[in-house]
Amino acid sequence: MTSGKRSVAQMKPGEVAVIAELEDDFISLKLMEMGCIPGATVRFNFSAPLGDPICISISGYELALRLEEASSIAILN
């Protein structure tokens, strides 16, 4: 296990973090266009009742994504 590297998928409701990098090339371009760029503040709002997808706040709006996509967004902690 790499030294405690976390992704948005592991955040808890209400937690705020800063995006470190995007690890999935295909998805990252789309995520960046939607405002998920390294250095941006991300807040984990809540997850869907079945645990997936999740809702985050980014660039001042709410974005829904699946855990698969969320796990490609590494955060600083």
Binding site: L22, D25, F26, I27, S28, L29, K30, L31, M32, E33, M34, G35, I37, P38, A40, T41, R43, N45, F46, A48, P49, L50, G51, D52, P53, C55, S57, S59, G60, Y61, E62, L63, A64, L65, R66, E68, E69
Partner: protein, 704 residues
């Protein structure tokens, strides 16, 4: 009329930016819906007059988040904005922006500025921004971006006149270049510009970045670009991420400059509070199914009143024409073929209007995105999308509007699967077939003093259809191969009151699309089926009366009995009758005879025709009510066994056949319309027919 200068104005913006409201505001009912050539993407255009009397043609382009397309819809926008030498290239681009969401929206704005097309930035929802205590310095925003900025409210119409005034003045193309090319990209861009002569660097850069999604490039241009890419080591997506980061950097400093009061970073807005309930683990689903039930109930129940009215209207029109026009083949064709065919199109309008009223309200209010959020995980397992739930449930009322509703699904594969399986949901047209067959073979008994056995059987048919839809989706998921990876990155827009005029425009738009596009095919098939059922080889049809009279000379028949006998005789000897007889060997293993065969052929027009055909063929056409047909069918003897024709085995076999078979020409027509081709409707017809045949065969063989 002399050729007038017509300004072509493209409306571009993020989804949910209020672009469609603005389009409706600008053009009113002067709208046309077509398709972009060669693709299924809808093209909305509308005409409006600007203050200086210039005519402007507005084109409402699909909502996008960036110039790099992810779907066919988005690709259209990139192509239109990048093909500067096309006659369709807009003279002015109006970029609509949700001002409450300025940061993300500006990404697209900066990309379009770099394309160098004359543009106007329309800042929508400025009232909401003001309410949240923020203010933007619009003058410096306009200066820093180098484009005119107009604050508007697309819901109330505030600022629309000002926007029109700005549009009527000549707008200079923006000269600012926001994105600075990376050094590694400069040589390639320079070389491309020298050879192909693009207007500016960013356009050339886009050609190099994504030639595959620009279908207007000629093969020469394409191979030249490929060489350049090779030479300068361009590969798709190489600079894309870095470009986005650079743009957001610019946007952040721009916002720091123009924001007069910084936005408080809270996430406790009204939407968040709503979401606590709407996406709650219990209340979320309760509400979701309550809404679905309301939609289902209203298509099922409320639509019947106007549908009965339309039915009656066309029936009396048909009678009127028969009575007034001179008797002849043309009159018969008109009164019995064309008019009922037109009626068969119009009958769907109430259901389509009601379903799309709901869909429009759900989308406008922001609920649809939450429905996807709630259902995504479950539906994904079956190769479907959270949004597939609405078409599937609406399919229980009628597959026609349901399939049209799949437009809201962005992912091509998930949308196609939804279209393919929706007709397996038991629609209301199957109900008359189900009730008559169930009444025939299932005893009217109570189980455990509470459940009616017939009711249980009916529910079982609905569940069977639903299970078949999910299982088929699961199987088709593995059969359709695409390189498109399934992902969900979706904005959850803030909750808003729906704008009722937008709901109205949506209803008009969808109804028109159905009537004029699917309607043509429905009418054609209806007329063909009518010809098949009313004409036949030889003189059997013309001389039906003589033949029947001869046959029945020893029986004393009342006049209406004789008429019924003649109708049955005619149907038996028509092309449809011959077809029914000729497929008898094929359907015999299912337990059917040629009479059922004829019903299968004619009910291809619509499933409920089965009942009417049964009535005609058993010579009880003039007293077409369920009890008579039922007792007549019950009395029918199978000559091979000497027992009743409609044994439980045959009955269940027929029930299963009607549950699975694609016995509906209107569905085929609408699938053709939605997929723009015959490939998918034919695949669907074949797989559903095979499924129906094999299942009915199994049921009959096991039960008998």
């Amino acid at each position: 009329m002399q050729a007038q200068r017509q300004l072509k104005i493209a409306l571009v913006g993020n989804p949910n930016s209020g672009k469609s409201s603005l389009f409706n505001m600008l053009t009113g009912l002067n709208q046309k819906t077509g398709n972009f050539p060669g693709v299924t993407v809808e093209k909305h255009t509308g005409i409006s007059r600007l203050p200086d009397q210039t005519q402007a043609q507005f084109i409402d382009l699909p909502g996008i988040y960036s110039l790099y397309p992810r779907s066919l819809d988005e690709q259209i926008v990139s192509e239109i904005l990048l093909h500067h030498r096309s006659p369709d290239c807009p003279d002015v681009v109006v970029v609509t922006v949700d001002a409450t969401n300025l940061k993300r929206s500006l990404l697209l704005v900066t990309q379009i500025i770099d394309l160098g097309l004359p543009m106007v930035l329309a800042l929508n929802m400025m009232d909401l921004v003001a309410k949240s205590g923020i203010s933007y310095n619009l003058i410096s925003l306009s200066e820093m971006l180098g484009v005119p900025v107009v604050p508007i409210n697309a819901r109330t119409g505030t600022g629309i006149d000002q926007l029109k005034t700005v549009l009527s003045q000549s707008i200079a193309p923006p000269t600012r270049e926001i994105f600075t090319l990376f050094d590694e990209a400069k040589h390639g861009v320079k070389e491309l510009r020298e050879t192909l002569g693009t207007d500016n660097d960013y356009e050339a850069y886009q050609f190099l970045q994504q030639p595959a999604s620009l279908s207007f490039l000629s093969s020469d241009e394409r191979s030249f670009i490929d060489q350049l890419k090779e030479k300068h080591k361009f590969f798709p997506g190489k600079f894309h991420g870095a470009e986005t980061v650079q743009r957001y950097g610019f946007i952040q400093s721009l916002l720091d400059e123009v924001t007069l009061k910084p936005r408080p970073e809270t996430h406790q807005g009204i939407s968040t509070r709503f979401d606590k309930i709407i996406t709650h683990r219990i209340w979320g689903y309760v509400l979701f199914f309550a809404i679905l039930f309301l939609v289902f109930q209203s298509i099922f129940a409320w639509a019947t009143v106007p549908m009965d009215f339309i039915d009656g209207l066309f029936a009396s029109l048909s009678n009127y024409l028969t009575d007034t026009l001179p008797e002849g083949p043309l009159t018969r064709m008109l009164a019995q073929g064309v008019i009922p065919g037109l009626g068969g199109i119009a009958i769907f309008i109430p259901q389509i209007a009601i379903l799309f009223a709901f869909i429009s309200i759900l989308e406008e209010s922001g609920y649809m995105a939450r429905a996807v959020f709630l259902m995504d995980k479950i539906m994904r397992k079956f190769g479907l999308n959270g949004k597939s739930v609405v078409p599937l449930i609406s399919g229980v009322a009628c597959a026609i509007p349901a399939i049209m509703a799949t437009r809201t699904i962005d992912n091509w594969k998930e949308r196609t699967i939804t279209i393919l399986v929706t007709p397996l949901m038991s629609c209301s047209a199957r109900l008359p077939v189900f009730t008559i067959l169930i009444a025939l073979i299932v005893p009217d008994k109570m189980v455990w003093h509470f459940f009616n056995l017939q009711g249980l059987a009916l529910m079982g048919m609905y569940l069977l259809g639903f299970a078949a839809a999910l299982i088929s989706a699961y199987i088709i998921k593995f059969l359709i191969k695409v390189n498109e990876r399934s992902f969900l990155i979706m904005e959850l827009p803030t909750y808003r009151w729906p704008k009722w005029s937008n709901v109205g425009y949506m209803i008009v738009d969808k109804t028109k699309a159905f009537v004029f596009e699917a309607g043509k095919i429905i009418l054609a098939i209806a007329v063909i089926l009518w010809v098949l059922a009313s004409y036949g080889p030889g003189d059997h049809i013309e001389r039906a009366e003589e033949y029947v009279l001869e046959e029945a000379s020893r029986e004393a028949l009342a006049e209406h009995e004789l008429e019924d006998r003649i109708a049955a005789y005619k149907l038996e000897h028509s092309y449809a009758g011959i077809l029914g007889k000729s497929i008898e060997p094929v359907i015999r293993p299912l337990g059917y005879d040629w009479k059922i065969g004829i019903a299968l052929v004619t009910s291809f027009a619509a499933r409920e025709v089965f009942v009417g055909t049964m009535a005609t063929i058993y010579s009880i056409g003039s007293e077409e009510d369920q009890t008579t047909i039922k007792s007549r069918m019950r009395a029918e003897i199978n000559p091979d066994t000497g027992g009743p024709r409609y044994t439980p085995a045959v009955g269940f076999s027929l029930l299963v056949f009607y549950t699975f078979a694609m016995q509906c020409m209107s569905t085929i027509a609408v699938v053709y319309r939605e997929t723009k081709g015959w490939k998918w409707p034919l695949i669907q017809l074949v797989y559903m027919t095979i499924l129906a045949y094999v299942s009915a065969l199994l049921v009959f063989q096991v039960l008998s």
